[in-house]
C-alpha cells in the first residue's frame, strides 16, 4: 500500500476562524473521535497503544498541524497550534509518537533536500515511519556537545559507531534522527552532523531502560558499524549543531504547560477530601498557596503564548516557565505525600479510589526537573543569557 493513500486532507482555513470557534471544532472532533480508553493515560503510551489515535489524526489530516499545507500539514499559526494542544490536554489526549511531526518533519521542511522531503514526510503522515531522537549519550547529557557517536564517510555511506541513551520510545521507532560526530579534530559543536538512521539496519541494537515508574519509556541505542547512505545526511556536514538548536522552537513552551500541575492540584483536593482535611486550616493555607502558584504559572504561560500569537520567537526567558512548572508539580505531589500518610507509599491507587495514585504522581513528577534540560541548566541559562551574569 502506498503511504499517501492512508492520510487525509482538511481544506478548512482554521487560521481565518475566531479562536473560540476553532476550539469548538476541536472539542466536537475529540468528543466524537477520541478513543475513550486512551483518556488521561497514567504513563506515556507505546505506539502499539497510541496508534489508533495517531491514525485518526492521520485520516482527518490533522497529524501535522504546524506543517505547511504543501507538505500535508494544516498550516496552523503558532497561536492556533497552542489552542489545539490545550484542547487535547483538556480532553486528556495521549501524546503519540510525535518526534516525526514535531522535530524531524519541520527540520526537513527547512533544511532537507526535495528528495528527502518526498521520501520521509509522507511516511510520517501515514504512520509508516515512527521517529525517535538520538541526541544524548552516556557522557553527553547536559553537555550535549560532548557527544562522541562517530560517523565516518566511506564512499556513498557513513559508517556509524557509538551509543545513544535516553532515547524516548526508541523501542517503537523504525527511524532515528541523530547527532553524530563527523569531525573529531574540530572544536566540540563544529564537528557534529545531522544523520537519519534506519533503525532496522544491521548493527543497530536497542535496549529498553525501565524507569522509576517501572515503564520502559526510554532506551539505549547501540551502533556497531552501521552503514548509513550519505543521502541521509541533512544539511551540510558538520553543521548539525546549529540545525538542532534552530529546531528548539516554540515547542519549548510546552515544557512549561500548566497541565501537569493543574491535574495534580485537582488530585490533591480530592485526596484532602478523602483524608478529611478539606476544612483543615493548615491544609487550606497550603492549598491556597499552591493554587496561586498555579494561577501565576498560567499567567506566565499565557504571556509566552501571547508572544507566539504575535509571531515572536521565544527567548531564553522561557526557561523560567519550565522551572516553575516542574517544581510546582513536584511541590504539589510532595504535599500529597504529606497528607496521604501511608496511602502515599502504596505502589498503586488508594483503596476505593482508582484515580488516586499518589506515589505514581510523585514519581512522575521527579523527571520533570531533569528532562528537556535539567533545572540546573535552565537556571544557568537564565543567569547567563537573561541576566548576563559573568562566567
Amino acid at each position: 500500500m502506498s503511504g499517501a493513500a492512508a492520510f487525509g486532507h482538511d481544506p478548512t482555513d482554521y487560521n481565518a476562524m475566531p479562536e473560540a470557534a476553532f476550539r469548538q471544532v476541536v472539542r466536537r472532533f475529540l468528543a466524537e473521535n477520541y478513543p475513550p480508553a486512551l483518556r488521561h493515560p497514567q504513563k506515556r503510551l507505546h505506539f502499539r497503544d497510541s496508534r489508533p489515535w495517531y491514525m485518526i489524526l492521520a485520516r482527518k489530516g490533522w497529524l501535522a498541524p504546524g506543517w505547511p499545507r504543501e507538505h500535508g500539514g494544516l498550516g496552523l499559526s503558532a497561536g492556533r497550534q497552542i489552542a489545539l494542544i490545550e484542547e487535547y490536554e483538556r480532553h486528556g489526549c495521549a501524546r503519540s509518537n510525535d518526534m516525526g511531526i514535531v522535530m524531524i518533519g519541520p527540520l526537513l521542511i527547512r533544511y532537507g533536500t526535495p528528495e528527502q522531503r518526498a521520501r520521509f514526510l509522507p511516511a510520517i503522515l501515514s504512520g509508516e515511519h515512527i521517529w525517535c531522537q538520538g541526541y544524548s549519550e552516556p557522557d553527553a547529557g547536559s553537555d550535549l556537545a560532548a557527544l562522541r557517536t562517530h560517523a565516518m564517510r566511506e564512499g556513498d555511506h557513513y559508517i556509524v559507531n557509538g551509543q545513544k541513551i535516553w532515547t524516548t520510545l526508541g523501542n517503537d521507532a523504525n527511524w532515528m534522527f541523530c547527532l553524530v560526530r563527523t569531525d573529531r579534530q574540530a572544536k566540540k559543536q563544529d564537528g557534529i552532523s545531522f544523520l537519519l538512521i534506519d533503525m532496522t539496519a544491521p548493527g543497530v541494537r536497542v535496549r529498553p531502560i525501565v524507569n522509576l515508574d517501572m515503564h520502559d519509556e526510554f532506551c539505549e541505542v547501540f551502533f556497531d558499524n552501521v552503514r548509513v547512505p550519505a543521502a541521509n545526511l541533512v544539511g551540510e556536514p558538520n553543521k548539525g549543531w546549529a540545525m538542532a538548536k534552530a529546531l528548539l522552537g516554540f515547542e519549548r513552551i510546552f515544557l512549561g504547560s500548566p497541565k501537569q500541575s493543574a491535574y495534580a492540584l485537582e488530585r490533591l483536593g480530592l485526596l484532602a477530601e478523602r483524608m478529611g482535611l478539606a476544612e483543615d486550616a493548615a491544609f487550606q493555607d497550603r492549598y491556597a498557596q499552591l493554587r496561586l502558584d498555579l494561577a501565576d504559572l498560567r499567567a506566565l504561560y499565557e504571556r509566552f503564548a501571547e508572544q507566539l500569537r504575535q509571531g515572536q520567537e521565544l527567548g531564553p526567558e522561557v526557561s523560567m516557565l519550565k522551572i516553575w512548572q516542574s517544581e510546582l508539580f513536584q511541590r504539589i505531589t510532595e504535599t500529597m505525600l504529606e497528607i496521604g500518610g501511608e496511602n502515599a507509599a502504596l505502589a498503586g491507587p488508594m483503596e476505593g479510589d482508582r484515580d488516586l495514585n499518589i506515589s505514581g504522581l510523585f514519581i512522575n513528577a521527579r523527571p520533570t526537573s531533569i528532562y528537556g534540560g535539567t533545572n540546573e541548566i535552565q537556571r544557568t541559562i537564565l543567569a547567563k543569557n537573561v541576566l548576563k551574569l559573568p562566567g
Binding site: 500518610g341 521527579r366 544557568t380
Partner: protein, 383 residues
C-alpha cells in the same frame, strides 16, 4: 544495668554484626531480587537475624534478652536502613517481642517468646485503623466478651508492614474498660488478610476480623496496662524507623557525593559546580540534624527519669526531621544523578522508594510535627 562504656561497646559490636548482613557499600542485588513478590523478604535471612539475637535485643536478660536500650536498637536500625534491608526487624520482631514479653500473665510470655525469638513464627502489631494516625486509642475494633472468658473480635486493621509473611497478629481492640491487646493467629476462623504492594516492592496488609473467637489466654494485655505500654513501645518503633531513615539517607548521600566527584560534564566533575556544592552542603545539614535528633530521642527513651510526654515529644522530633530529610535527600539524590537517577537500574531510586515507605510508617513528618506541638505544653511545664 550497663555503664555507658558497656553500652557504647555493645552498640559498636551490634554495628559490626550488622555489617555481616549489610556489608558497607555492598551490592543491593539481594534487595532488588526480593521486591514485588511475597513475602517481600528472605525467610532464611530472617532466621539468621533471629540467631544473631537481634529479636531479643530490647528484652531483659531474665527473658533471654540482651537487655540493651533504645540507643542500641536505633544503631542497629540505622545499619539495616543503610542496606535497605527488607526484613521487618522492628515491625515483625522488636515491637511484638516487647509487647509479648510484657504480657499480663508471665506464663504467656514464656510460652510465646521462644517461637518469636527463634524466627519460627513471625508476629506483627496490628493497631492502625486509619491512614496518618498514631493514636492507639482510635480503635473501633471491638472485643466482645464471651461467657466463660475470651472474646469475639470484629474490626479492621490497616497498614501492617510486610504482612504477607506474618503468622500471628497482636491486635488492639476496645472492650468495656478500654483498649486491650489480643493475639490472633492468622489461621483463626474469621481472619482475612489482604495484601497490597508498596512503592518499595514490599507489602502492606489489611486485616479483617469478622467475629474471630478467642480464648481468655489470647488476651496479652488488659486495659489496665495496655495503653501506656503500647504507646511507649510504639514510640520506640518511631525512633527505630527514624534511625533506619538516617542510615538510608546517609548512604544515598554518599552514593551521590561519589557521583558528584566522578561524573564529568563541561570538562569537569559536576561536583565542582557551586550550585551543586551548596545543595550538597544543605543536605549534610539536614542529615546531621536528623542524627542529633535521633540520638537525643534514644537517650531520653533510655532514661527512666524522663517523663512520658518529653520522651514522646523527642521521638516525634526525631521522626519529623528524619522523614522530611530522607525524602529531601533521596529526591535530590535522584535529581543530581540526572536521567540515570530516574532509572530503575540505578540503585539510587531504591533509596527514594524506601524513604517514601519509611517516612510514612508510624507517622510522617506532618503528623509528628502536630504531635510534637500537642505535647510541647506538657514539656514546657517540666522545664
Amino acid at each position: 544495668m550497663n555503664s555507658s562504656e558497656d553500652s557504647a561497646e555493645a552498640i559498636r559490636m551490634l554495628r559490626e554484626s550488622a555489617a555481616a548482613i549489610v556489608p558497607p557499600g555492598g551490592d543491593l542485588g539481594r534487595v532488588r531480587a526480593l521486591r514485588f513478590k511475597e513475602p517481600g523478604y528472605d525467610p532464611a535471612m530472617w532466621r539468621r537475624m533471629a540467631a544473631l539475637g537481634w529479636f531479643a535485643l530490647r528484652l531483659p536478660e531474665a527473658q533471654g534478652g540482651a537487655g540493651l536500650g533504645v540507643a542500641a536498637l536505633a544503631a542497629l536500625a540505622e545499619e539495616l536502613g543503610r542496606g535497605l534491608v527488607p526484613e521487618p526487624l522492628v515491625a515483625g520482631a522488636i515491637l511484638p517481642a516487647a509487647l509479648i514479653a510484657a504480657a499480663d500473665e508471665p506464663g504467656r510470655a514464656a510460652a510465646l517468646l521462644p517461637a518469636l525469638l527463634s524466627g519460627a513464627r513471625t508476629h506483627a502489631f496490628a493497631w492502625q485503623e486509619a491512614a496518618a494516625s498514631l493514636d492507639i486509642a482510635r480503635a473501633d475494633t471491638i472485643a466482645e466478651a464471651r461467657p466463660g472468658g475470651g472474646a469475639r473480635l470484629a474490626g479492621r486493621k490497616l497498614f501492617v508492614p510486610q504482612a504477607a509473611g506474618v503468622d500471628a497478629f497482636l491486635v488492639t481492640a476496645r472492650e468495656a474498660e478500654g483498649i486491650s491487646l489480643w493475639l490472633v493467629p492468622r489461621e483463626a476462623a474469621g481472619v482475612a488478610l489482604a495484601t497490597e504492594t508498596m512503592i518499595d516492592g514490599g507489602n502492606t496488609g489489611t486485616l479483617a476480623l469478622d467475629g474471630v473467637v478467642l480464648g481468655a489466654e489470647a488476651r496479652i494485655l488488659a486495659p489496665a496496662r495496655a495503653p501506656a505500654l503500647l504507646a511507649r513501645t510504639l514510640d520506640e518503633a518511631v525512633i527505630a524507623t527514624a534511625a533506619a531513615l538516617l542510615g538510608l539517607m546517609d548512604r544515598a548521600f554518599a552514593i551521590t557525593l561519589d557521583y558528584l566527584r566522578t561524573r564529568t560534564q563541561f570538562g569537569k566533575p559536576i561536583g565542582s559546580f557551586q550550585a551543586l556544592q551548596h545543595r550538597a552542603a544543605d543536605l549534610l545539614v539536614q542529615i546531621e540534624l536528623g542524627r542529633a535528633a535521633i540520638g537525643q530521642a534514644a537517650r531520653l527513651a533510655d532514661d527512666p527519669a524522663i517523663p512520658a510526654p518529653a520522651r514522646a515529644a523527642a521521638a516525634s522530633q526525631a521522626k519529623a526531621r528524619a522523614s522530611d530529610a530522607a525524602l529531601l535527600v533521596t529526591r535530590q539524590a535522584v535529581q543530581m544523578h540526572g536521567a540515570i537517577g530516574y532509572t530503575d537500574e540505578h540503585d539510587i531510586g531504591l533509596f527514594l522508594r524506601r524513604a517514601m515507605v519509611l517516612s510514612a510508617r508510624y507517622g510522617n513528618a506532618a503528623l509528628h510535627r502536630r504531635r510534637h506541638a500537642a505535647l510541647a505544653p506538657a514539656i514546657d511545664t517540666e522545664e
